[in-house]
């Protein structure tokens, strides 16, 4: 069972998760977000936010989001375009953690690498109610 996100200390690194951008998954993602623009650039390119979604998915595979957690901010830099079939590795690290008025505020650095080097980096900011026993 993965640890709860709110139990992780600043500096904690979550192990990387590997993904393949299969045509099926990319099709599912493009359909879900109704991205009609990406197809105009060619059949092989993947929407960049799909990579960000994978980074979040990797985080959620390695840490359980506490009930009531809310995403309040996001920074993302796309370093290069990715294509269907690429294999990627996504990792996450807790870079900030603070508490205010019963709410925990966490900054999480997300990074995605491919076989040709870095693909995306970013930082998610989440807030969640402080749970009893939270360190």
């Amino acid at each position: 069972m993965p640890p709860r996100l709110d139990s992780l200390a600043r500096g904690h690194e979550l192990p990387p998760s590997a993904f393949e951008l299969s045509p099926e998954w990319v099709g599912e993602y493009v359909g879900a977000v109704e991205d009609e623009a990406i197809a105009s650039l060619g059949p092989e390119l993947v929407p960049p936010m799909a990579v960000a979604a994978l980074a979040v998915r990797a985080l959620l595979e390695r840490a359980v989001l506490p009930p009531g957690a809310v995403h309040i901010g996001q920074e993302i830099t796309f370093q290069r375009a990715v294509r269907i079939g690429e294999k990627l590795s996504a990792s996450a690290r807790i870079v900030s953690r603070g508490e205010r008025q019963g709410w925990l505020l966490m900054g999480i650095e997300l990074s995605v690498e491919g076989e040709g080097g870095p693909v995306m980096e970013g930082r998610a900011t989440l807030t969640m109610p402080v749970a009893e026993g939270t360190p």
């Binding site: 977000v33 650039l41 960049p48 996001q74 290069r80």
Partner: protein, 130 residues
């Protein structure tokens, strides 16, 4: 692709948000947080009902930026946003943007997602090498 001039408004993306679309994104994105997918759970939260994933709203912004800037957005694009208010099933979300400055070979746009009442849901900046 030529960089649009300062002041240019990007072609907006307008999407009707439904619970079915939120559920579909939860499946694709692997984010089954009950705040998004479980109406009974979500009714007990401060939101009083389910809300769309923030990343779904960012996907609408990204679609707008892909249409405006092409591959320059996919390779070297940068987005920095705050989530201001939730999008709910039944909302019509408009992703909008305007070029606000050009500096050092980068084009910077103010971007927002708004609901049908004009309330800002997401706001921030996007930057591309263009």
């Amino acid at each position: 692709m030529t960089a649009p001039a300062v002041g240019t408004e990007l072609a907006p993306v307008v999407v009707a948000v439904t619970q079915e679309k939120i559920d579909r994104y939860a499946e694709a994105g692997g984010d089954g947080n009950p705040l998004h997918t479980d109406p009974q759970f979500a009714a007990q939260t401060q939101f009083g009902g389910t809300i769309a994933h923030g990343m779904l709203l960012l996907a609408y912004l990204s679609r707008m930026l892909t249409a405006a800037f092409g591959e320059a957005w996919l390779s070297g694009g940068r987005l920095k946003v705050r989530f201001r208010a939730p999008a709910r099933p039944g909302d019509t979300v408009s992703a909008v943007g305007q070029v606000v400055r050009a500096e050092d070979g980068r084009t910077v746009c103010a971007v927002e997602c708004r609901n049908q009442a004009g309330e800002t849901l997401v706001s921030g900046e996007a930057e591309v090498s263009a």
